[in-house]
């Protein structure tokens, strides 16, 4: 069988985000098992392991599951990703960090075993700025943008990109760090109220998101000028603030619509009593993202089966499948997920996909995230050099000679 570990977190400070993602991830594999008897006829076995978003437990989970023949890891934590990059590389198991983790892993020549398609944090920063450019008729000259970020590796990721972009487009960037957990953000928001930046971008996760949305509403910051990244744009981030959150925007890489696959999951998985969670998250932003991640993994495995001609693939084969992955609109439609993500193709040089993202907006009265735009492309001319630089530094530091496997 095909072993897929799911390093989830259903407890601890970030459980609210961890639960729906994991539900979606597992439910999709359950669907494949129920509907297709697995992937290429080989049943999928998901091993869930609780990390509580804690790096040591992440390592423990990794070590506990890798012996089972784990094919691909998706830890949903930048911290754990950093632990796993050297380990998975040494153990020859692919690591997929979808929209998080180490951005420069997009350079597949340095990070042979790490993939972060379809987009990464630097893409996200650029997409957000491009969106704002669009809103402002192509120029952000003289505008101010404040970045409210989680004071951790994760939160600091976009800073360098945004700095470059601010130089490029002439906007002023203010940085406001929020320490974990982020319950108290009065200072940051008072500062925002004083300085009245035109836009606020947010790199948040966990309780920080809910508090930020509430505080923004409190100071009367126009919600439509407040944009979170794709980890600050789930339902639970906005519901605690109630109507006050109406109009808040965020990035997303998987728009929320009525995907046909969801009803299949409903009938074949949930109603059969095989739901991973309590079933309440079906169709939510992070659920769909988890499902999307599972789909990408399944496609890569199917790819690997094609390439190598065996059903019971090894992790190394899955890596080959990932490197040859091509997601097309046709395929997504076929899978009942039309438009769940951009079209993209992975190559040895580019493990990062196209980097596209879209902007969605919260409609509080309806209680739904409404996609505002189509997929927006990041500014490759800014991102590519940054990735090249960072991955080169890593290669030098760890004595890696870049190249394809």
């Amino acid at each position: 069988d095909l072993v897929i570990p799911d390093l989830s977190y259903r407890t601890g400070p970030y459980a609210a985000g961890g639960v729906p993602f994991s539900d979606g991830y597992q439910d999709y594999f359950a669907l494949l098992n129920a509907r297709d008897g697995g992937i290429g006829g080989e049943p999928v076995r998901v091993i869930e392991c609780e990390t509580a978003y804690n790096t040591e437990r992440g390592v423990e989970c990794y070590e506990a599951t890798k012996g089972e023949g784990a094919l691909i890891y998706q830890p949903l934590s930048t911290g754990i990703t950093y632990q796993l990059i050297p380990r998975t590389t040494a153990d020859n198991i692919p690591l997929h960090t979808m929209g998080y983790g180490r951005t420069s892993a997009a350079n597949g020549e340095v990070f042979n075993w790490v993939f972060n398609y379809p987009a990464n944090y630097w893409d996200a920063a650029s997409v957000a700025v491009n969106y704002l450019l669009d809103e402002n008729g192509g120029s952000l000259d003289g505008k101010t943008i404040a970045l409210v970020y989680h004071n951790s590796a994760y939160g600091k990721e976009p800073i360098r990109t945004l700095e470059d972009l601010s130089a490029l487009h002439g906007f002023t960037l203010t940085q406001l760090a929020v320490d974990h957990p982020g319950q108290e953000q009065k200072s940051q928001w008072l500062q925002i109220r004083r300085e009245r930046p035109d836009y606020v971008l947010m790199w948040g996760w966990g309780v920080m998101n809910q508090v930020a949305v509430q505080e923004a509403a409190n100071i009367g910051f126009p919600m439509e000028n407040f944009i979170g990244n794709w980890w600050a744009g789930a339902e639970h981030d906005v519901t605690p603030a109630g109507m006050a959150a109406n109009g808040y925007k965020s990035l997303n890489m998987n728009p929320i619509t009525d995907y046909p696959v969801l009803s299949e999951i409903q009938s074949l998985v949930h109603e059969a009593g095989n739901a991973a969670g309590d079933g309440s998250n079906l169709g939510s932003v992070l659920y769909v993202r988890g499902m999307y991640a599972a789909m990408l993994a399944a496609e890569a495995i199917a790819n690997a089966q094609d390439i190598h001609g065996v059903a019971d693939v090894t992790p190394a084969m899955v890596r080959d499948g990932m490197e040859a992955l091509e997601i097309t609109n046709a395929r997504m439609t076929e899978l009942g997920m039309e438009g769940i993500g951009p079209e993209f193709a992975v190559t040895c040089q580019n493990h990062g996909g196209t980097g596209q993202g879209l902007v969605q907006q919260w409609n509080a009265s309806a209680g739904v995230w409404e996609p505002l735009t189509g997929f927006i492309s990041p500014d490759a001319s800014v991102i590519a050099p940054l990735i090249a630089e960072d991955s080169a530094a890593f290669a030098a530091e760890s004595g890696i000679t870049p190249g394809c496997l």
Binding site: R10, I85, P86
Partner: protein, 358 residues
């Protein structure tokens, strides 16, 4: 009688003050050492090394360190995470600045640097006592973490602020980096732990140890009989931080390989190590080991039982795990407030009297 003291007469004070005055204990001690050094390395696999043994060994060093400060000298500290971070970042800076110097030296130097930082943060202990001091050490914890997060020099200006341990060798064998063999990871930690434990043992049985304990038990009386409180407290902070720094360096370089300060060395770490020594037994080296083993093993064991054997949903198990760990802590304290070490001592005393009940 299985276990006896009778017939174990000492003819010199030297023999009397040895670590294990009872022959049976001595045997067991040597047996454990032999197994740890000569048997385990041949059997250890990646899972055992990474999930259990290496964290256990490293936490044991940290627990010994904190136990010196809290258990022996009575100064409750919640700055352990911060001090481990000092060790880790010092080690990182040394490793990257002097790549040709042996990692062993780097780790020891990291301990030394941590000792200096620890002693500096120990200064307020002259005025501040008890829980006030415990809370005050949080100032160190938060400040250090903030500093390692903010000052990019510490993480060599990397984009995310993560630090990664480059590959380093001891006698030609990789001990850090992705290609380290599990047994090598295990051995380097074991060697450090053994040496640290020996040093700790020596310090705690002699003059310094007694001045620490005197300060702990009654600081005023200690001062009146001639203990210089400044010296006693600062040495305790320094020695303790030395060990904690070493454990932080190992934690970063050998165990995790990459850390982010807030996540790896946050306040949770301070609490965790404190829990270890309290559960294990304050003022007992054995307790440091027992506590570290308990808190490293228990969650893993519960998870294995719950998820792998009983097949329960992971979230349910995770929640039950909290309930059980919490429940056990309370249960043990009620049974024996002085920790696992004391439980062990009482068991031995009972054994000694066996078959009579008292």
């Amino acid at each position: 009688m299985l276990y006896r003291e009778a017939g174990d007469f000492k003819t010199s004070y030297q023999a009397d003050s040895q670590t294990f005055p009872i022959a049976f204990d001595r045997w067991r001690y040597w047996a454990v050492l032999v197994i740890a050094f000569c048997v385990v390395p041949f059997f250890v696999n990646a899972y055992w090394a990474n999930a259990i043994l290496v964290p256990f060994l490293i936490y044991a060093i940290a627990a010994i360190g904190l136990n010196i400060l809290t258990g022996y000298c009575g100064q409750v500290s919640l700055g352990t995470g911060g001090f481990m971070a000092v060790g880790a970042y010092a080690c990182y800076k040394l490793m990257t600045s002097f790549p040709d110097v042996s990692i062993v030296i780097h780790i020891i130097l990291a301990g030394g640097i941590t000792a200096a930082v620890g002693a500096a943060f120990g200064l307020p202990s002259l005025r501040i006592k008890g829980f006030y001091l415990a809370v005050a050490t949080l100032a160190a914890q938060f400040f250090l973490v903030w500093m390692f997060n903010k000052v990019s020099w510490f993480y060599n200006y990397s984009a995310s602020g993560q630090i990664n341990a480059p590959e380093r060798f001891v006698a030609g064998i990789a001990v850090t980096g992705p290609n380290t063999a599990p047994w090598a990871q295990y051995m380097i930690c074991l060697v450090f732990l053994t040496i640290c434990a020996l040093i700790a043992r020596n310090l705690t049985r002699g003059t310094i140890g007694r001045s620490w304990m005197a300060i702990r038990d009654m600081d005023i009386a200690a001062e009146i009989i001639g203990v210089n409180p400044l010296k006693a407290k600062l040495t305790a902070f320094a020695v303790s931080s030395f060990f904690i720094g070493i454990s932080g360096a190992l934690f970063f370089a050998v165990y995790l390989g990459a850390v982010e300060v807030g996540e790896a060395f946050g306040i949770q770490k301070s609490f965790l190590v404190l829990f270890m020594i309290i559960i294990g037994g304050l003022g007992s080296l054995f307790g440091s080991f027992a506590g570290a083993a308990f808190l490293v093993l228990l969650p893993v064991a519960l998870k294995v039982i719950g998820v792998d054997l009983l097949g329960w949903p992971t979230d349910l198990v995770a929640h039950l795990q909290l309930v059980i760990v919490g429940g056990l802590i309370m249960f043990f304290l009620i049974k024996e407030p002085h920790g696992l070490a004391q439980l062990w001592r009482v068991a031995k005393e009972k054994l000694r009297l066996w078959p009579f009940p008292y």
